[in-house]
């Protein structure tokens, strides 16, 4: 197996923003008729540059923290690294199995039972049915929900839901782990074991990229940090220079 790595070269991502208007066929047709072809179609779409010329090079062992205000492009960068968003300019190259924990509720079906949801989430994450069977007991034990796992997830409290989602999402083995914000999951007890599990995952994963606002978490999990401002990235600096970066 090759070592995990991430390389972004001059990565630029623009969002076409289709207004509520542009999604209506009538409006699009009306414009095309009235103004004619290309110009008409262009009028409905506004481009927003979410990331501009981001250069990034990470190798196994790097744990990068992303900081920046809301809307600075942290989530967009994570989504681009997950392969969902494609660059408009430049390139992204990722070696290694990617696991994205951007949204814990990904693929959770409220009417299905806890077991079924774990199964579904692990299938989406790339595990085969056999692999899931083999690890189900371990995952179930980790949630600490016992017999409740046979009940529909919609009957769970928010904390219980979080436990299931977290347990399933972190069961998938990966080399590159992408995480968005720290989603506080469960009660104090669960926080503690969740923390342990994440540390283990971070150790096992070659690379971690974590977006968060909380400095203590950054210091806990990351060894490098990068600041995004309106889509423009700072240099990657050592975590010890975090305070300087926050002030600048």
């Amino acid at each position: 197996m090759t070592a995990a790595s991430i390389t972004c070269t001059d990565l630029t991502i623009r969002f076409p923003v289709y207004g509520a208007d542009a999604k209506s066929l009538k409006k699009a047709l009306a414009r095309a008729v009235a103004v004619g072809g290309a110009l008409g179609r262009h009028a409905g779409v506004t481009d927003v540059t979410a990331l501009e010329n981001v250069n990034l090079q990470l190798k196994a062992g790097d744990r990068l923290g992303l900081i920046g205000h809301n809307g600075s492009g942290k989530t967009t960068l994570l989504r681009a690294l997950s392969g969902a968003y494609e660059p408009d300019e430049g390139s992204i190259e990722v070696t290694g199995r990617i696991a994205s924990l951007l949204d814990l509720s990904l693929g959770i079906d409220p009417s299905a039972t806890g077991y079924e949801n774990i199964r579904l989430r692990c299938r989406i994450g790339g595990m085969s049915s056999k692999q899931i069977d083999a690890r189900m007991d371990e995952i179930a034990e980790f949630t600490g929900l016992g017999p409740f796992l046979s009940m529909p997830v919609k009957t769970y409290s928010a904390g219980m839901k979080g436990r299931v989602a977290f347990a399933a999402a972190t069961a998938v083995e990966c080399d590159v782990l992408l995480m968005d914000e720290w989603i506080a999951v469960g009660d104090a007890d669960f926080q503690k074991i969740a923390h342990k599990r994440l540390l283990k995952l971070v150790e096992r994963a070659g690379i971690l990229v974590l977006a968060t606002h909380e400095a203590p978490l950054l210091k806990l999990y990351c060894n490098k940090v990068m600041k995004l401002e309106a889509g423009v990235a700072s240099e990657i600096v050592d975590i010890r220079k975090l305070d300087q970066l926050l002030e600048s």
């Binding site: 197996m1 090759t2 630029t12 969002f15 076409p16 289709y18 999604k23 209506s24 066929l25 009538k26 699009a28 994570l78 989504r79 681009a80 997950s82 392969g83 969902a84 968003y85 494609e86 660059p87 408009d88 300019e89 430049g90 390139s91 992204i92 190259e93 990722v94 070696t95 290694g96 199995r97 990617i98 994205s100 951007l102 949204d103 509720s105 990904l106 693929g107 079906d109 009417s111 299905a112 079924e116 579904l120 299938r123 989406i124 994450g125 790339g126 595990m127 085969s128 049915s129 692999q131 529909p152 998938v172 083995e173 080399d175």
Partner: protein, 277 residues
Amino acid sequence: METATHMLRTGQRGALFQFQMALRDLRNSFQRIGLAWSLAWHDVASRYRGSVLGPFWITLSMGLMVLGIGFLYASLFDLPLHQFLPYVALGIVFFGVLTGTINEGCDTFVLASGMLSQTSLPMLTFVWRTVFRNVINLGHHLVIVIAMLTYYSYWPTANVPLALLGVVLMVLNASWMSLMAAIASARYRDIPQIVVSVMQFAMFMTPVFWMPSRFGKHQIFLDLNPFYHLLQAVRAPLLGQPVQAQSYLVLIAMAVVGWLVTFAIFARTRRRLVHYL
């Protein structure tokens, strides 16, 4: 884990590159075809969760509809039951595959937006999910088809291999239409309404409930109706009737041209699809 360990995404590099990326999406979706099956089964199971009969509601509700319409129309048109009931049963069941796959195609990408915006799962996986879901439904409906053909003893004359070929052609054609509907609906939110109306209109214009022999001099409208050929290719062999060679020609040409055009549109819009949602 069988997922790719290498991912490369680059900026626009022209049409050929986009086409290659679309092909890669197709290849990856086949490599993980099991995921599409799992999702489709999950959809079917969760729809009937908590009900006593479970997915057999699919069979039961279809059975009731077939009997109701069968008896009603047979007496309205003054047709013998042994001829009309199997005819209308097969018509409703197989036309249902077409409407289901195409109508549900409208939701394919819209419902998957959560997964599409944070993973590199192939987009076509979700198209196969919709197609498989309808194939699973068809599996439940087959009980009715088999019951009808057995009760009215059509088996000696039925040409099952030819009907299977018809099913394959039907699924091949329905799946490109489904993908087309999925792309268009993601971009324009009026499309699902249009698709539903068109499919409803098509159901009445196609000999699902009525015999084509009643069409008389308007035969041209039948020959121009692609859904007629799709339905004929499956229904006629099971009822022991011949299928015109012309129908196969239409179906194969439609599958090839339809897939080429739809795939070209998919290649062109693929990188933008996630932003439409």
